[in-house]
């Protein structure tokens, strides 16, 4: 069960449209290391997680990722609001516009559609938590790459907030991995799967 709250986790206020940057930032909506894949990864993995602390962290970080997806979508919406046909043509936004007008659709910066193959839900806590730790770092790298291409402080500010959250999530997943390892002993460390055996 989820409830909606009518505010963004961190404010987004962009007053200058920039469809060129929207085409890049959309990767954090529907790209390989984006917020949609992050949320679906954690919310899929949590069902078979045998340790209550880790089930909690997957649920709560998976939920926060939905709020991050909403922030990214707000950024793209504001960067592409009320574009004229001339601006669409000039900025190279026409290939997106022809299929989606100015609506939000999850795709990578390359145009590749969002796919569940961006993440794994493997059913082994050590395997899944290593994937989760890597995912947070990949998202952090993506935000660093985006920040090198942006000068506008109105866009940089919420992107920096999202980047910082990747680091905090990485810390919490590191603690989760430690909790899982504390449940294992020398006999079963890597030899058994506590989600299955």
């Amino acid at each position: 069960m989820w409830n909606y709250e009518k505010r963004l986790q961190y404010p987004v206020k962009i007053t200058q449209t920039n469809p060129k940057l929207a085409k890049i930032i959309i990767s954090q909506f529907g790209g390989p290391d984006g917020e949609l894949a992050a949320s679906m990864r954690y919310l899929s993995q949590r069902y078979t997680m045998p340790y209550k602390e880790v089930t909690g962290i997957l649920t709560d970080i998976g939920t926060e990722e939905l709020a991050h997806m909403e922030m990214i979508c707000a950024i793209i919406y504001q960067l592409t609001k009320n574009l004229s046909p001339e601006e669409i043509e000039r900025s190279g936004f026409a290939p997106y516009y022809v299929d989606h007008t100015l609506a939000l659709w999850p795709q990578a910066a390359s145009g590749a559609p969002w796919t569940a193959t961006y993440f794994q839900s493997k059913g082994d806590p050590i395997t899944d938590l290593h994937e989760d730790l890597a995912a947070e770092q990949k998202a952090r790298t993506t935000y660093d790459n985006i920040l090198r291409l942006i000068k506008d402080p109105e866009i940089c500010d919420p992107i920096r907030f999202l980047r910082e959250r990747e680091i905090v999530h990485y810390q919490r997943f590191g603690e989760s991995l430690r909790i899982v390892q504390e449940h294992l002993d020398s006999k079963n460390f890597y030899a058994i799967n506590p989600e299955f055996e």
């Binding site: 409830n3 709250e5 505010r7 987004v12 007053t15 602390e53 979508c73 909790i179």
Partner: protein
């Protein structure tokens, strides 16, 4: 637990809600992996209560941010009246162009 919600204008109260909500979001994750940390538990309780109070105050004066705080004193469904958060005015921080 009381905030000086009554003395804040709309923008201040909204920003206050964003800030205390973030405190709750962040300590919630910390508590998932440190469930017996007393300092974090006290911090969570403090900001959770401030948040509930501020959300209630905001809903009564300006309209609800959560469905649980939709006002009893309204004769219409005001959940849909105020702008959505991605829209102009939705985060109350738009500067006039």
């Amino acid at each position: 637990m009381s905030c000086n919600c009554h003395e804040m204008n709309r923008r201040e109260l909204f920003e206050y809600i964003n800030q205390i909500s973030f405190a709750v979001d962040d300590v919630k994750l910390f508590l998932d992996t440190h469930p017996e940390n007393q300092k974090a538990l006290d911090y969570f309780q403090k900001y959770k209560e401030k948040r509930i109070e501020a959300l209630k105050e905001y809903a009564e004066v300006y309209g609800p941010l959560t469905v649980d705080t939709v006002s009893e004193n309204s004769d219409c469904w005001n959940w849909i009246n105020e702008p959505w958060p991605w829209q102009e005015g939705g985060m109350l921080i738009y500067v006039e162009l």
